[in-house]
């Protein structure tokens, strides 16, 4: 008779110590930044840099989602920033509406005849949409007055888009590079659509002033920034936990098997398309949540944010960080996006060669491209792969 190994049932975290380590590091990082922040502690970390850090955490979250969909499930989606952007637009609509409503009500408060609700709505619409030559509130703003409903939209709209798009694409067995092109087309189409003035989201002006939180206008930005930083850290922690749980165990096993040999998984009786759809939709929703936390920190969202190139950058971050390991995605997104803002934000000193001056704002992309090629050639497992090397050869 076989020797039956009945291992004691362990908890999820004790079986996955790397998750616990990541959460510990994230907590320590959050506490240190908080202690150094302007709003709370020593003031070494400026409010604008605190916002950059908070936004970076959101980018790490979408990178983790991208790693699950690409690194684990093998779907090279080049459209996940569309969901990120939709999340941003979702929260932006409430932020703009509620803040404008406050301003309108204040200015109408001293009017001799109290304004009707219809007049208030008209005034809000004029305020928001005069920039695109309209005074009508588009029907998609129907829920914008309610934070609860709009938060629901942040989950539902990108979730439904992913569900319908994924269902159509996976059902037709579109895979590999064709699927990547299809996702690029999706994000391009959405971006071009939003660039139009009559789509109800202010065309290329986008939504702005998102850093002003209605009801909290009396608080300094240093405090608001800290709250968003905490929320971003919490979201990254919870998202990381969710995905780590998703890719562990039998579900993770099936998903990785789909990546490696999809038709073989079918012959085992698994409906591959449903699995892909679940992974695609869940990652899209998490991407949208990341976007909803990102844009109040960025202050503005416009259709350029979901241009196809942004989703390609996302794939580059994950590739540089190391596919198929969640912390790799975090490392890649954090490293590349922080370096990017350092180089393009004038942080890096330009190099004068005498006959030519290297201006980093122009040359950063070349550097990134070279970095990407170098990683692909010399470290196919990305920066995260170096950890394996260190662990195996101490």
């Amino acid at each position: 008779m076989a020797k039956v190994t009945l291992a004691p049932r362990k908890g999820f975290l004790s079986e996955n110590p790397s998750v616990l380590r990541f959460l510990g590091l994230l907590t320590v990082f959050t506490l240190i930044v908080t202690a150094l922040s302007e709003g709370f502690g020593a003031g070494i970390v400026s409010t604008s840099f605190l916002k950059v850090l908070g936004m970076t955490l959101c980018l790490c979250l979408i990178a983790v989602a991208m790693d699950v969909v690409w690194g684990y499930c093998g779907i090279l989606s080049l459209g996940h920033f569309a969901f990120f952007g939709l999340g941003g637009y979702g929260i932006g609509m409430w932020l703009m509406y509620a803040r404008t409503e406050g301003i309108v009500r204040e200015s109408l408060a001293n009017a001799p005849i109290p304004a009707t609700e219809g007049e208030v709505r008209d005034a809000i619409a004029t305020q928001i949409f005069s920039v695109v030559g309209s005074t009508e509130l588009p029907f998609i703003w129907g829920f914008a007055h309610s934070l609860t409903l709009q938060l629901l939209m942040i989950v539902l709209v990108p979730g439904l888009l992913a569900l319908v798009f994924g269902w159509l694409a996976f059902r037709s067995r579109v895979t590999g590079v064709y699927l990547s092109i299809l996702t690029q087309a999706m994000t391009l189409a959405l971006s071009l659509y939003l660039f139009q003035n009559d789509t109800g989201l202010r065309g290329n002006n986008g939504l702005s002033g998102l850093q002003n939180i209605p009801g909290l206008l009396h608080l300094p930005q240093s405090t608001i920034a800290l709250w968003f930083f905490w929320a971003s850290a919490l979201a990254l922690g919870l998202g990381y936990l969710l995905f780590a749980w998703l890719v562990s165990g039998k579900f993770g096993s099936v998903v990785r098997a789909i990546r490696d040999n999809e038709s073989r998984v079918r012959f085992l009786g698994y409906h591959v398309e449903s699995y892909k759809l679940v992974v695609f939709t869940v990652t899209a929703i998490v991407s949208a949540i990341a976007g909803a936390l990102y844009y109040p920190q960025a202050g503005i969202i416009n259709p350029a944010e979901i241009a196809p190139i942004t989703s390609i950058y996302l794939a580059v971050w994950v590739a540089i960080g190391g596919r198929g390991r969640l912390y790799g995605a975090v490392i890649g997104a954090a490293t590349v996006s922080l370096l990017s803002s350092w180089f393009t934000g004038g942080g890096a000193p330009n190099i004068d060669l005498g006959f030519y001056e290297i201006v980093w704002t122009d040359w950063w992309l070349v550097l990134l491209g070279l970095g990407f090629v170098a990683v692909t050639l010399f470290f196919p497992k990305g920066i995260g792969g170096l950890f394996d090397y260190l662990v195996r050869k101490p």
């Binding site: 076989a2 490696d260 012959f267």
Partner: protein
């Protein structure tokens, strides 16, 4: 012995080439059946049609007591209905452990949410250990499947097939690349499996077929040339001409 699988009048054409031509085969339960034939006779295409990988141009493929029509079903639904398949080239998930490979194949609910909340129980662990014993991989459960030898991969795939607990096993060249001792073990596994279920084996090796000691179907140019015991078909003049005589 009633028919479990009923293939009748099936034809399929690839770019003008008739891979399967009015093919009719009936498999009972339990039964062990060997399918032989020269290269290009349509042996693998036959399996592709039964498992839903290839849709035929005409004909019927009926399954089970209720005569379910397999032609309208997806690969995964056919697999869930009880048809398991082993490929010519061993295809196991090389990046995962032997245990994970077996656990994935184990007969359980296959829906994404069932799998997401699945917890391996005592019964599942015992079944995996039992299967590993049967295919001689007990000591290799925590190993990466990619690190196994060729023969061990073949067995792992047979183990995965048994883990699915199918009513019909389609096995494509199970003995390819095996040592004589490994072949003997494989024969034993297949004959034992065939006591309770239907097993169809495609094989080139006549010695291996002889050891299976079962009914043989000879395919040629996409249809059945002869059927019966090995001695019966090897004496058939047509079979000698197209297959054995070469």
């Amino acid at each position: 012995m009633s028919a479990l699988l009923e293939v009748s009048g099936v034809s399929v054409t690839f770019d003008g080439f008739r891979a399967i031509n009015n093919l009719s085969i009936s498999i009972g339960e339990p039964e062990l059946r060997a399918v032989i034939g020269p290269n290009g006779a349509g042996k693998t295409t036959f399996m592709d049609i039964v498992t839903g990988k290839t849709k035929p141009d005409e004909g019927r493929v009926l399954w089970g007591e209720t005569s379910m029509n397999l032609l309208g079903m997806s690969e995964s639904a056919i697999a869930r209905a009880g048809i398991g398949r082993k490929f010519q080239k061993p295809t196991v998930f090389e990046d995962q452990t032997v245990r994970e490979n077996l656990a994935m194949a184990l007969r359980n609910k296959r829906g994404p949410f069932d799998v997401l909340f699945y917890k391996p129980n005592r019964h599942a662990r015992a079944r995996i250990a039992e299967l590993a014993e049967e295919i001689g991989l007990s000591d290799h459960l925590p190993r990466r499947a990619g690190d196994l030898s060729h023969g061990q991969k073949q067995w792992l795939e047979i183990g995965m097939l048994l883990a699915q607990d199918p009513r019909l096993l389609l096995v494509d060249e199970p003995a390819a690349g095996m040592t004589p001792a490994e072949r003997e073990h494989t024969t034993e596994l297949l004959t034992r499996a065939a006591q309770t279920r239907a097993v169809v084996v495609i094989e080139h090796d006549m010695e291996f077929i002889r050891r299976l000691n079962c009914k043989v179907t000879v395919l040629h140019e996409g249809s059945v040339l002869a059927e019966g015991s090995l001695d019966h078909v090897t004496q058939n003049q047509q079979v000698i001409d197209v297959y054995l005589g070469r």
